[in-house]
């Protein structure tokens, strides 16, 4: 136990300041009222859905939870069920085999809700495109508010996308 406590003290605080919202990431004009966004802004619950990604974007979503980006420190946390969520964070081109699961997850998320598409594949189908097995971008299947490009996007970009979605449009 002594070693563990010593390590915690030695490590100190690594958290860096979060990025500012970026309006260029918004693809759908503000659907939610400012008052609701203010509530989301102080306590947001996110459900992640991998709709067919290569697992690259997932690595960076994990990173958003590390001590440097410390998303929980901003009052934002990942939850285990869409029933508890305010926002869906969706990765991947949507594979045809995930269409039903993605739509059901969207329907199971209570209103008001937001959708952020993470990664090049989620934005425009990426290298996988549209095919017999892939529906391409997330917006082809469910409505999307904000897109974050990158392969995979950096944790800062992901954080910025989430913060843009919950900030009021200027």
């Amino acid at each position: 136990m002594y070693q563990l406590i010593k390590q915690i003290i030695k490590t100190g605080i690594k958290t860096e300041s979060p990025p500012l919202p970026d309006e260029t990431m918004r693809v759908q004009s503000q659907r939610l009222q400012e008052e609701i966004l203010r509530v989301f802004g102080s306590a947001l619950n996110i459900r992640h859905v991998d709709a067919g990604s290569c697992n690259g974007c997932e690595l960076e979503i994990h990173s958003v939870n590390n001590a440097y980006y410390n998303i929980e420190g901003l009052g934002i946390k990942f939850v285990a069920s869409p029933r508890h969520a305010d926002m869906l964070l969706v990765t991947g081109p949507v594979s045809r085999h995930m269409v039903t699961a993605l739509k059901r997850t969207f329907d199971a998320t209570p209103e008001p809700k937001l959708v952020v598409a993470i990664g090049d594949c989620a934005c425009d189908g990426g290298i996988f495109g549209e095919s017999y097995a892939s529906c391409g971008r997330v917006a082809n299947v469910i409505p999307v508010d904000v897109v974050v490009s990158g392969c995979p996007p950096t944790p800062t970009a992901i954080l910025q996308g989430i913060l843009t979605a919950i900030s009021a449009q200027k």
Partner: protein, 516 residues
């Protein structure tokens, strides 16, 4: 010759790893597989191809490995009834691969015990096959709900828990069907294919260089391993050898991928036994590795740094100093954290004995990679078939015999330290070269090449077939998760349901890599 059989004539393939290819008749398939298995060999991959344009019907391809190298057999099958003798009785791991080969190409195993679909859910109808050259996507579309007959467990008090495809954590989608009594797991059955996005079909429309990008996205956490295996296969067909410095840099990238993934997994394994301290600490270290990757090589996960013919990024002297410093820092920090994990009674109590796979079962089921080594399966492509520069590095294989979560943690720690040692060796021996790559834009006609790389999870294989114009006519990427997923079904039997996330994490297998 790696194996001898009266009807088998093998040809040595050019390239970085010892590999042979040969054509056999369907009747010789089982005896040859049996003799490889009797000699301690394994089945690595099984796939099919459509050769009807050449008037050759279909072809079954099978990659076997023994201590001498890879043996790639092709079995021509008639157009009308493309059946072949079942090999899943000899190599149980072939079961899902045979079913996937049927879903995608319509070739099937005679007397196979399991004829259920595997990769197909409801996106295309059962009589159409996406990897056939005359596949019509629009005509084959249906939007039926998936209907899959799980094996039912009966008995008093037995009930099922269905989990997924959307999981509670930040992970890829797949379905797990548990049959339980109280908290105890009687049976687990996996159902995958949710992330099937047509990767193999997509390969066929890309040039050799474009396809390298796709290969690096078969499974994002193993992008270096896939990109290298793909490049190795292309270089094998073209009989091209990249510059020495490029090969050393590839090994540096591969070890850095192993370091980053092992750090991440060790953090999550702590998290899954309620030691969130472990997650916080290991992910600080992982982040530092990723930031150094971004600074020195321009990408946190080193995507697209390996191309057929060489690499795209060099390492400057100042970069070497950064990496030496990182090595020293990681060696110290990981030693401290290992001590904390080992002395933490709560952690060890959860790790020890959970999800145990005995060496005998591991051998029977073909468990490979890091999970295999934790169950005494001493296979590591860097050791058995050391391609340059591993032939100069003398990799020390980490093995353990207990086969439980604790063993897989120990192997991860051992491999992490070994990768740090290798990284230092690579930095010390990095040879100078004027060039980082040799041009490789076009492949010869009717070529076949194969590459195999020991990724952090296990052996990644990529096979490439070219057509009469030298274009990619069939590319098959193979993930070690094909081997290891079925073993997870055994690992959880008798364990309580709440230990499943921990056991699953200790394997950390890829969905995308096997769903393709």
């Amino acid at each position: 010759m790696p194996i001898t059989h009266p009807n088998l004539h093998l040809t040595k393939l050019a390239g970085a790893i010892p590999a042979w290819s040969g054509e056999i008749k369907p009747d010789d398939l089982q005896p040859i597989c049996q003799s490889v298995q009797d000699g301690g060999g394994r089945l690595v991959a099984l796939w099919g191809s459509d050769a009807r344009e050449l008037g050759n019907g279909f072809t079954l391809h099978i990659a076997l490995v023994n201590e001498t190298g890879l043996i790639c057999l092709s079995v021509p099958l008639p157009d009308g009834q493309p059946g072949y003798p079942d090999v899943s009785r000899i190599f149980p791991v072939a079961n899902r691969m045979q079913r996937a080969a049927y879903d995608l190409l319509g070739i099937y195993a005679h007397e196979g015990q399991d004829h259920r679909k595997w990769l197909r859910h409801g996106a295309w109808h059962g009589g159409s096959f996406p990897l056939r050259k005359d596949f019509d996507a629009a005509q084959s579309r249906i939007d039926d709900a998936d209907n899959y007959p799980f094996v039912q467990v009966e008995g008093q008090g037995v009930h099922e828990i269905a989990v997924g495809p959307v999981h509670a954590g930040i992970i890829e989608p797949g379905h797990f069907r548990f049959s339980v009594v109280g908290e105890k797991t009687l049976r687990l059955e996996e159902r995958f294919g949710y992330t099937h996005k047509g990767i193999e079909k997509r390969f066929e429309s890309l040039t050799v260089q474009q396809a390298a990008k796709l290969a690096g996205r078969v499974s994002g956490d193993s992008t270096v391993a896939y990109a290298w295996a793909y490049a190795m296969a292309a270089e094998s067909i073209a009989a091209v050898t990249p510059p020495d410095r490029a090969l050393w840099l590839r090994a540096l990238f591969l070890e850095r991928e192993r370091i980053a993934n092992h750090l991440g997994d060790l953090g999550y394994l702590g998290n899954d036994v309620a030691l969130s301290f472990g997650f916080a600490q290991f992910w600080i270290l992982k982040e530092q590795v990723l930031r150094n990757n971004a600074e020195l090589f321009g990408h946190r996960y080193l995507m697209d740094r390996i191309i057929p013919g060489g690499v795209t990024m060099d390492l400057a002297e100042s970069g070497k100093r950064t990496l030496f410093k990182e090595c020293a820092m990681l060696e110290h920090e990981v030693s401290v954290l290992r001590g904390i994990y080992e002395e933490h009674a709560g952690v060890q109590d959860r790790f020890i004995g959970a999800g145990r796979i005995e060496p005998k079962l591991a051998a029977r089921l073909g468990l490979c990679g890091l999970a295999g080594r934790a169950s005494s399966q001493a296979w590591d492509a860097r050791v058995q078939f050391p391609c340059a520069p591993y032939d100069k590095l003398d990799v020390q294989m980490a093995t353990y015999r207990n086969g439980d979560v604790a063993a897989r943690v120990i192997v991860r720690f051992d491999e992490l330290f070994e990768s740090l040692r290798l990284q230092r060796e690579i930095l010390n021996n990095l040879v100078d070269d004027d060039k980082l790559s040799v041009p490789l834009e076009k492949l010869p006609a009717h070529g076949f090449g194969v590459g195999m790389v020991e990724g952090w999870r296990g052996e990644v294989l990529v096979a490439i077939h070219t057509d009469a114009d030298g274009k990619l006519t069939r590319v098959h990427p193979h993930d070690p998760s094909w081997q290891n997923w079925p073993v997870l079904e055994h690992a959880v039997v008798g364990n309580i349901v709440p230990d499943f996330p921990l056991i699953n994490k200790s394997f950390n297998l890829s969905y995308s890599g096997q769903d393709l």
